[in-house]
Amino acid sequence: AELSVVSGDTGNGLAFLQSQLDKFEEQTGHTVTVVPMPSSTTDQFGQYRLWLAAGNTDIDVYTTDVIWAPQLADQFLDLTEAAAGVVDQHFPSIIESQTVDGRLVAVPAFTDAPALFYRTDLLEKYNKEVPTTWVEMTATAQEIMDAERAAGNPDMWGFVFQGNAYEGLTCDALEWVKSYGGGQIVEADGTISINNEQAAKAIEMAASWIGTISPEGNLAYMEEESRGVWQLGNAVFHRNWPYAYSLGNGDDSPVKGKFDVAPLPAGEGPDARSAATLGGWNYAVSKYSQDPDAAIELALFLASPEVQKERAINQSNLPTIEALYEDADVLAASPFMANWKEIFQNAVPRPSAPTKTNYNEVSSLFWSAVHNTLSGNGSASENLELLEADLADLKGDAW
């Protein structure tokens, strides 16, 4: 059959995908074309929605972000049966995040979780430990920043993260809130939990960074901007996804060999822990596919251990199959993955499964509330209270 898979994969990723598809074609005799999409996830999501709404038969398999499958669940085929044999190999939390009302709407391809990047050279120079709590990090960052500035680098900052009002801020803020034991905005059972003291505390803490250890401009940073500051050597700490690791070690990078990663710091309080937002990508099959069986075959192939292993080796993508973290080949190619296993174990899913089609709006309300607090429009507790009311409105009787 002729299949097409739409993918927001980027440069090398696309080439990799193509190489795997070649294999698939060889194995099965199907032909597969890739429909590439811009890397902007909002663009992709909007397109998918439109295509699916219009019953576009041209696309068989979609590459979906972890948070999308629940929102598009109605338009995707249930893969539960088809994947019955392989589901067990994956991290259960990931499978859970792709399961809506008992239907498995997408199979995971790889996962993603952020880490705290820190400058080994600077910590060494000032004789500091890798911080394990936000408070420690703040203090260390402040101290090193001040010292470095005094030493003649006026552009030095303590910590950069993703502060723009967008999905990335939801990720960052979820980590703060969760690390302070403030829940995960909407709990798995659908209760709105965000308006609590710990959450407020976490966000207040982040707000205190702006203008002190983080630049004002951080409020507009997405991944690349923060990486820019970091990679120029102008930040002590940096929160980002694994991609920044290999880039930071690029040949022309000023921070090459001068940094390492650690789990994100923990908060303070009763349920304090380190938390990392769960990212990652999956494959879903359109219910408008004209050859659903072949399409499912393709999706499962792309999620298979073989492909995941190749992916881990070639692309440094984190596998969703636990076994692969012990695979010698994988660890030989990407030794840092060992670090990430720990990070990944602390991963928190965004509340897309419980909020279903409303997730994007929930997320938007959340990041707006956080962004407002960070920019000094109202205190965290005020904003969270409003947020709770808005979420309650949105929820109505049920999500």
Binding site: A165, A220, G228, L232, N372
Partner: protein, 326 residues
């Protein structure tokens, strides 16, 4: 609407036979208009009606065809709480919407104002005779020629607080005392968007105004020179009134565009409440949130608001639709 009384022979034509010439012209006019109208009906009319229809339903993108008619519910609905207080919901009482309206209007006003002023200056410069005019004319179009998504990103890059060249330039020239996060802070976000938009669309204005300037006879400037009219006054008393028709059309289209502004803001400051415009909000509801009907209602209202503005503008500006002959 500025419908002029049409003192045309055709109006009084009832009694007499139309001449072959007039018939031929009217017939030709019909055939000339037909393809355009068909094209517009398909490309705009149908989708537009669909959107308006959806705004009265509870459609979502997951359930486009099973949508149910809910009347004005997306615009305004109310429920009486147990306590007896009436609770209004819907677009008309949505603060986010009105914030977007305000942002859009603010944006449209300032951008079009500046584009008109700067476009006029540029057009006047281009209208003068000087060496290298062609090169300048081409140079001026560059901003317009760069795809919006690219220029928005480019400016985002240049406006970046840490490695943006504009902050660096500002600091070097002593215009800034510290690096400013232009797109990040609510106070400057709108300014940043305006700067980029003005930079980008002034060439459009300039070119249309230039085309208008070229139609002004040169000799009346000589008459004005002799009358001792100062060049500045010449501009206001002569040039301006005479390019008005061209200017009005240019402004109309710019205003319409500005009121629908989408991609620039979507790329530059996608989620800042200080710059979120009606289109951006509508897109959010249509495609990001599961509120297709609500988004359609926003689009429809946006359409109505723009229409109201246009009619007001045409009415206030006394734009002449007619004036052709026969």
């Amino acid at each position: 609407m500025a419908t002029e009384t049409m003192a045309s022979p055709v109006v009084s034509a009832g009694a007499k036979i139309k001449s072959e010439l007039m018939q031929q012209r009217v017939r030709a006019a019909r055939w000339f208009l037909l393809p355009m109208l068909i094209a517009l009906a398909i490309v705009a009319g149908w989708p537009l009606l669909r959107s308006i229809y959806f705004s009265f339903t509870d459609a979502s993108l997951n359930n486009l065809y099973g949508a149910e008619w809910i009347g004005f519910g997306n615009y305004l609905r109310w429920s009486v709480l147990e306590s007896g207080t009436v609770r209004y919901r819907g677009l008309l009482v949505d603060p986010a919407w009105w914030n977007a309206v305000w942002n859009t209007v603010r944006f449209a006003f300032w951008s079009v104002l500046w584009e008109t002023v700067l476009g006029m200056i540029v057009a006047l410069v281009l209208n003068a005779e000087f060496r290298g005019r062609g090169i300048v004319r081409a140079a001026i179009l560059i901003p317009w020629a760069i795809p919006t998504i690219v220029s928005a990103r480019m400016w985002g890059w240049m406006l970046n607080d840490q490695f943006g060249i504009l902050n660096d330039l500002g600091l070097r020239l002593g215009l800034l005392s510290q690096k400013v996060a232009w797109t990040a802070t609510a106070e400057t976000a709108m300014t940043a968007v305006l700067v980029v938009d003005i930079w980008k669309t002034t060439p459009f204005m300039a070119l249309l105004i230039l085309a208008g300037l070229q139609m002004i006879p040169k000799d009346i400037y000589e008459a004005a020179d002799i009358d001792g009219v100062h060049p500045v006054k010449q501009f206001f008393k002569i040039t301006l009134p005479l390019v008005r028709p061209a200017l009005m059309v240019a402004i109309i289209f710019r205003v319409l565009d500005a009121l629908r502004i989408f991609d620039l803001i979507y790329v530059l400051t996608p989620n800042s409440a200080a710059t979120k415009t009606m289109s951006v909000l509508a897109r959010e509801n249509l495609f990001d949130f599961d509120n297709f009907a609500y988004g359609s209602a926003q689009s429809t209202l946006l359409f109505l608001i723009i229409a109201a503005f246009t009619i007001l503008y045409i009415w206030l500006g006394k734009v002449n639709f007619d004036g052709g002959d026969r």
